[in-house]
Amino acid sequence: MRVIVALAFALGLLAQAAPAPAQDAEALRREMEQMRKQFEAMQEQYKKAMDMMTERLERVEARPQPPVAAPGTPAAPPAPMQPAQGAPPVTDLVAQRPPGSDPSPLDLIKPRQPFALYERRGPGQLLFDMGVTGDFIGNLTQHNVQKNQGGSFPGLENLFFPREVEVSFFGQIDPYARAEVRVEAGQDSRSGELTVNLAEANLTLMALPFGTQLKLGKMRNRFGYLNQIHAHDWPFIDNPNVLQQFFGKEGLVESGFEATWVPPLPFYLELLGGVFNGENDVAFGRDQISNPLVTGRLRTFLDLDEWGAVQLGSSIAAGQTPEQRNSTIVGFDAKYKYTPPGWQRAAFTLLGEYLLSFRDVVVTDPDGRDQTRTRNSQGFYVFGGLQPFNHGELSKWLLGFRYDRTQYPAASGTEWAVQPFLAYYPSEFLRFRLGYKQTTRSQCCSYLDFQDNGGSAKQVSEYFLQATFILGAHPAHPF
C-alpha cells in the first residue's frame, strides 16, 4: 500500500513539473517586444546621462582653479547645496584632495621652496614624521660661581647658549615595529663649539604576544618620571639637583634592551625590565653588556575622574661604576594632575621623585688602609605648577616652583635649592620661562669642596631665561 501511495505522489510531482500547455505565441511575442522597447529606452537614457556627465567634467576641468583664501580671513562660503528631497547628495560637498600629479621636467628646473615638490605629492608620502625642537638657555650668576663652575649649567655660567637643538624622526617601520631617531646638538663649554651626538636611536617591537613589547637600541631609560623626557619637555628649566648628582647632566642614556608587560588587569600596571651596557660615567660606567646595568620599573595609575589623576612609579638600576664597584639606585616617583572638566590644560600639577643610592666607595681608615664601604645617600625634588585660567591671555601663563634637596652619592655633604619661575606660552609650540634659583651647599670635606679656581659655589644665586620652540611634528606627551 505504501508503495502505491509513494508512486502516486511521485507521479503527481512529475505532472506538476511537466511543461505547461503551449501558451499563446502571439501574447509572448508582444511581451518580448515590450521588453525590448523598455531596454532601448533605458539605453538611450544612460547614453544621455553619460554625455551630460562627460560635458560637465570637461567644463570643470577647463575652469581655472579658484584662489585660496589667505590664512586668517574668514572661510569662503561653501558651494550651495542641492538639497532636493531627503538626504542631499554627498558628492556636492566634495573638496577633492590635491591631485597627486608628478612634476614635469619644467617643474623640476623651476626655482622652488624647500620641500615644494614633496608637498605636491600630497600628505603622508614621507611615511614617517619629523620635527625639530630648539631649547636656548640664558643664565646669570655670581663671578665666584662662574670661576668654580658650580652653577646649574657647569662651565656655561653667565652665557646664553643652545642647550639642545634636536632633530627627530619617528614612525612605523612596518606593521610590527616603530622606530625613533633623535640627533642632538648643544653647547657644552665656553668655547662656543657645539657637540653633535646621537641622542636616541631605537626600535620597538609592538606586535609581540601576551601584552609585551621590546625596545632595543640607544634610549633614555625609563627610570623614574623625568629621565625618559628630553630637556626641552621638562616641566621646569634645569635638571633637578638630585638627578644631576646621581646620574650626571645627561641623565641615564643607555644602549641595550628594554621589555615591558602590561598584564590584563582591571587597573593599569606596567612592568619593565632592561639590560644595558652601563655607559653612564657617574653611576654606571662599566660599559660591558656581559657585566650589565640591569633596570626595572613598576608603574601604576589612579584615575580620580573629575578630581584628577595620579601616576605612581618605582624604579631600580643596578650595575657597576667605572671603577668596577657596585652601584644601585632606587627611585620612587609620583605625579598628580588636576584638569577641571572641559579644560585643555591641567590647572594644577604636583610632581616629585625620591632617589636612594647605594654605592661602593673606597675610604681610607685611620691606619691608612683602603677599605670598600657602601655609601648610602638620598635626595628628592618636588615641583608644583599652577595655571589657573583656561581662556584668555592669562591662560598662557604658568607659575612654577621647585624644591630640591640631595646628598652627594660619592662624598659627604648636602645641597638644597629653591626655584620659582614664570612660563609664558604664546602657543603650544613656543614657550618662554623666566626663573630664579637659590642653591645652598653644606660644608663639604672631600673632592666636592666647591672652592675650585679660587671661586666658591656654596651660595649660588642664578637667574634663568629659557626659550623653546617646536617645528613640525612632535608626539603627544604622556601623562
Binding site: A75, L93, P175, V262, P341, A476
Partner: protein, 305 residues
C-alpha cells in the same frame, strides 16, 4: 528538601552568571577615539560588542591628555576606531603604551573611519603653523554631518567584519536600520533649515563646516583669529563689523570654548550665541548620534529665526 532547593537555585544562579560572563567574553571589545565614533559604532554592532570611547564627551578631542587609564581600555580591545584626519593623533601614543598588537597601525583591528570621506577645507597651498593649528589633510569634523553617517558606518562595518566575519550580516542589518532612521531625520532637518539656506553664521572654531554645508548655511567668520589661536582685540573689532554688515544672527560655539567671549561678541553684533553638541553627549540630551544632530539643527534654526 530545603537543602536541595537551595543547591538547585545556587547552581542555576552560577550557571546563569557563568553563561552571561561567557557571552560577554564572546562580545567584541571596541574602543573609539571620540564619542561620535562610539555612537556610530554602537548602531552597527548592536549587542554584539562592548564599545567605549577614549575621549569624554566634554573633552576637546584635538588635544587629549594621554592617561594610562586609556591604555588599560585599549589593552583589552579587539579593535580601535580612529578619526583618521589627524584629529586624534594622541590615539597612537595610547596604542603604543597599551601593548596590544590588535590595534597598532596596520593591524586588522585598526579602523580608520575617514576612508572615502569627501574631505572639506583641504589646503590647496603650502601650509605652516603661522596659519594656526591647521589640519594639513583637511577638516576632520566630518562626523557632525548626518550625510556622512553612511560612509563612516560602512568603514566601521568593513573593519569589524575583518575581525568578526561571522557578524557581517547582523552588522549590515543594524546599519541599514540606522541609515533608514537617519534618512528620515535628514528630510525633517532639511525642511527645518530650508528657510535659512544661505544665512550667514559665525563660529568659534572652524569645526562646523560639514554640518553647515550640509544644510546650506554659510560660515562667514570665526571667533578664533586662526585655528587654535585666540582672538585679539583687533580681530574682535573686525569680526563685529563684519557681522553687522552681513547681518549675522548666530554665533555657534563648542562646549569647551570661551563662551563668555562668544556671548560678548554676539551681543555687540546684535546676534545670539549658543553652544552646540560638538561631539555626541557633549550637551545634555544628546546621547545618540541622531539626538546630537537633532539638537544642533533645532538650536541653529531657532537662532536663525
Amino acid at each position: 528538601m530545603r537543602r536541595l532547593i537551595t543547591l538547585t537555585i545556587s547552581l542555576a544562579t552560577a550557571w546563569i552568571t557563568f553563561s552571561a560572563a561567557a557571552a560577554d567574553a564572546q562580545k567584541l571589545r571596541v574602543i573609539t577615539s571620540t564619542t561620535d565614533l562610539k555612537a556610530l559604532t554602537e548602531v552597527v554592532t548592536g549587542d554584539l560588542a562592548e564599545v567605549d570611547a577614549m575621549a569624554r564627551p566634554t573633552q576637546n578631542p584635538h588635544d587629549l591628555e594621554v592617561r594610562p587609564s586609556l591604555m588599560i581600555k585599549v589593552r583589552r580591545a579587539d579593535a580601535m576606531i580612529v578619526n583618521g584626519l589627524e584629529l586624534d593623533d594622541w590615539a597612537d601614543v595610547v596604542a603604543q603604551g597599551a601593548n596590544n598588537p590588535n590595534v597598532i597601525p596596520g593591524a586588522p583591528g585598526r579602523i580608520d573611519a575617514s576612508r572615502g570621506i569627501p574631505v572639506l577645507e583641504v589646503p590647496k597651498t603650502r601650509v605652516d603653523r603661522s596659519m594656526g593649528d591647521v589640519h594639513p589633510v583637511g577638516n576632520p569634523h566630518y562626523t557632525l554631518d548626518p550625510g556622512m553617517a553612511s560612509i563612516v558606518t560602512q568603514n566601521i562595518l568593513e573593519g569589524l567584519a575583518r575581525i568578526a566575519p561571522q557578524h557581517r550580516a547582523a552588522f549590515e542589518r543594524n546599519r541599514q536600520q540606522f541609515l533608514a532612521r537617519v534618512d528620515e531625520a535628514v528630510g525633517r532637518w532639511t525642511k527645518m533649515l530650508e528657510p535659512y539656506k544661505g544665512s550667514p553664521v559665525v563660529v568659534n572654531h572652524a569645526l562646523w563646516i560639514y554640518l553647515l554645508t550640509r544644510f546650506g548655511v554659510v560660515q562667514v567668520g570665526t571667533v578664533e583669529e586662526r585655528p587654535g589661536i585666540p582672538a585679539t582685540a583687533n580681530h574682535i573689532v573686525k569680526l563685529v563689523n563684519l557681522m553687522k554688515e552681513d547681518r549675522v544672527k548666530a554665533v555657534i560655539a563648542e562646549p569647551w570654548s570661551d563662551f563668555k567671549l562668544v556671548q560678548r561678541i554676539a551681543q555687540e553684533a546684535g546676534a545670539s550665541a549658543a553652544i552646540l553638541a560638538a561631539t555626541v553627549g557633549s550637551v545634555k540630551g544628546t546621547d545618540t548620534f541622531i539626538e546630537a544632530v537633532d539638537f544642533n539643527v533645532q538650536t541653529l534654526a531657532q537662532m536663525l529665526k
